[in-house]
């Protein structure tokens, strides 16, 4: 080999970028995701709509002077706009606008607490199952099988029939019938990541088991879990409204969109609009959280626009809360 050859054979792994400014620290995953999320019109609309409902629910006492539970037989089925009743009153003279606002509180509380509870329980079970494997894993996965073999809508109804239709029971039973997808997801992540190099490396430098779990693994699973959780919010809101409609959820004098619809169906002949408002609210909120979920998903992985797993999750939520 000639001299010149030796000169050119130095290994230079990357082309040096000509005349480029020194790069700032690359933005973190959260920031990148947010900047992509921001450019997705559906996701942003969803976020705005959700915020409006959250504010509406939170500020309900300031937005209306009426008590949603106050029965006023003097003003039954008043038309919209009369006497400060923005959307009129129902068959018992309750202000519809006030009921819608206070229902938003209930629905959003159910949605977010069920999602949070399911994520916590699912993450715990999934981590234990995926990290330790073996017998523990088998047991938990059988449990998931059992849960998936019972029609979950029936199970919800059964539990509420037995324990009574208290608000906290509803949240608990919805959590207990929703955690499986998160557990599966976290477990899958674990099995996948457990073999990876950097977990080995972390073990090698003596990080404890728990340290490995929380530092490395959950961080990798956090985005898919968030996407899953947004879908769960929508699903839980639908479940709540369906259960309330069937008379097994929220009970008067409390108020909920599903309960309002159940009343409205009886008085359909008198005022059909009463059946429209609560349904539109449910539709908007669920659409909003689904768009947000899609926005997050796309900001992470734009190619995988509609993965089968996601469709499958949608399908399950349909069977659980809507059929």
């Amino acid at each position: 080999m000639s001299e010149a050859n030796l000169q050119t054979s130095t290994v230079i792994p990357q082309v040096e970028v000509q005349a480029s400014k020194p790069l700032k620290r690359p933005p973190g995953p959260w920031r990148t995701a947010w900047s992509k999320f921001r450019r997705n019109p559906y996701a942003v609309t969803g976020l705005v709509v959700l915020l409006i409902f959250i504010i509406g629910g939170a500020a309900a006492p300031w937005l209306t002077k009426y008590d949603p539970a106050k029965i006023d037989m003097m003003f039954v089925n008043v038309k919209a706009g009369t006497d400060g009743h923005l959307l009129g009153t129902d068959e018992l003279g309750r202000d519809i606008f006030a009921r819608l606002l206070y229902s938003a509180r209930i629905s959003l509380t159910v949605g977010f607490s069920v999602a949070a509870g399911s994520v916590i329980i699912g993450a715990i079970i999934g981590s234990i199952s995926g990290f330790f494997g073996g017998f523990i894993d088998t047991c938990f996965m059988r449990l998931v099988d059992v849960m998936n073999s019972i029609p979950l809508l029936f199970l919800n109804i059964l539990v509420l029939a037995i324990f009574g239709t208290e608000f906290r029971y509803m949240i608990i039973v919805l959590i207990l019938t929703s955690w499986m997808s998160v557990a599966r997801l976290v477990r899958g992540m674990f099995l996948q990541l457990r073999e990876m190099q950097y977990v080995e490396a972390a073990r090698a430098i003596g990080v404890s088991n728990l340290g490995i779990i929380f530092k490395h693994l959950l961080r990798n699973a956090s985005f898919p879990i968030i996407v899953n959780a947004t879908l769960m919010v929508g699903s839980a809101i639908l479940s709540e409204s369906a259960l309330s409609y069937l008379g097994l959820g929220i009970q008067a004098p409390k108020t909920s969109w599903g309960l309002m619809l159940s009343n409205a169906q009886e008085f359909m002949l008198v005022d059909p609009l009463q059946a429209v408002y609560p349904g539109v609210c449910i539709l908007l909120v669920v659409l909003a959280v689904n768009f947000i979920g899609d926005g997050i998903q796309d900001s992470l992985n734009p190619r995988q626009k509609m993965s089968e797993r996601r469709i499958d999750r949608w399908r399950k939520s349909f069977l659980k809360s809507k059929i």
Binding site: M1, A4, T8, I12, V15, Q18
Partner: protein, 341 residues
């Protein structure tokens, strides 16, 4: 001069994206004579696969299109044909085999069905006869016990066997041109040699031309009559295989040859790598496309794209080094590194 079977002239093919057209190949010209093998060599991303898809007009299904130029095959311009006309040519006069044999076969049909399909399509044979011919084809490509194999599904065969089946499908209708897109890349080294041997002997037997696409100079050395080296969508050097190996004239070809690990090199010697990466198609550099990675780059290379120059008769390179305008003299005076081969 023998008859040309395929003549690609001035071919520009690309993809339509949101950001506009991305040209994967530009002003590409190449021709194949009857019974000969031409190798398109280059790194992944150099546009060689796009060229093959363009010839087959399969590029239309990948969101791409032929933007300019002609593809003359047996006197007809494939670039102007409709897909209805192309389906009579594909699998019949021009056949193609692909990189990954395992995924190139439909998992839910038996291999016999898959070979027979193309015979039934182009030879208008009945199902029974086509099946019989399928067995013959399997025997031709050297698959043992073809009567049994014909009823098996792809997942029951090894990778090498699958590639033989893919070749059998391609050759079922006795094509005049076979396009082989990295036919051995996904296979084990020993199997690679077998498949190349098979292709060579089949070529002798059937008299077809082969357009072989590879990134592997070793494969090209074994198969090619002519070699065209592609870089970032253009052909940078073209010539007979002997010429190219004896006198690699473009710095890129030179780099490719040097980066082939050889048995004769001293052990422990650092393997040559061409510095940098192939540029993305949407961010091609000004001037010569290779200049950011070229060890000999001069100012003119950064400003103007080089013309195609004849190095010797029938050996062309697209480099300023051979042009008077580029000051060929200047390079000659420098120590142009000899390629020791």
């Amino acid at each position: 001069m023998e008859e040309k079977l395929l003549e690609i002239e001035n071919l520009t093919a690309g993809f339509l994206t949101v950001g506009g057209t991305v040209k994967a190949t530009e002003h590409l010209s190449i021709s194949i004579e009857k019974g000969k093998t031409v190798c398109l060599v280059g790194e992944s991303g150099s546009g060689k696969s796009v060229t093959s898809l363009a010839v087959m007009r399969l590029i239309d299904y990948n969101g791409g299109a032929i933007l300019e130029g002609s593809i003359k095959f047996q006197g007809e311009d494939l670039a102007k044909k409709s897909q209805d006309e192309m389906i009579r040519i594909r699998g019949n006069k021009i056949a193609m085999i692909f990189q990954d044999p395992m995924s190139s076969l439909n998992p839910v049909y038996t291999i016999g069905d898959q070979i027979a399909e193309s015979i039934m399509l182009h030879r208008k044979k009945g199902k029974k006869e086509a099946r019989k011919m399928a067995v013959d084809m399997l025997r031709l490509v050297g698959i043992p016990a073809p009567e049994i194999r014909v009823k098996q599904y792809p997942h029951e065969l090894s990778g090498g066997m699958c590639q033989r089946v893919v070749i059998a499908i391609a050759l079922a209708c006795d094509p005049s041109l076979l396009i082989a897109d990295e036919p051995t890349t996904a296979l084990d080294v020993t199997v690679q040699a077998q498949i190349l041997d098979l292709l060579r002997s089949l070529q002798k037997e059937l008299g077809m031309s082969i357009l072989l696409i590879t990134h592997d100079m070793g494969v090209a050395a074994e198969m090619a009559d002519r070699i065209a080296v592609m870089y970032a969508g253009i052909i940078v050097e073209e010539g007979s295989a002997n010429e190219i190996f004896a006198r690699p004239s473009h710095p890129y070809t030179e780099g490719l040859l040097k980066s082939v690990p050889g048995l004769e090199g001293a052990r422990g010697e650092e393997l040559y790598t061409i510095r940098g990466n192939i540029p993305g198609l949407s961010q091609l550099p000004e001037g010569c496309r290779f200049h950011p990675r070229c060890p000999y780059a001069k100012d003119i290379c950064r400003e103007k794209a080089p013309p195609v120059m004849a190095v010797t008769e029938d050996h062309y390179a697209s480099c300023w080094m051979y042009s008077e305008e580029g000051g060929a003299a200047a390079w000659k005076n420098e120590t142009k590194p000899e390629v020791s081969r």
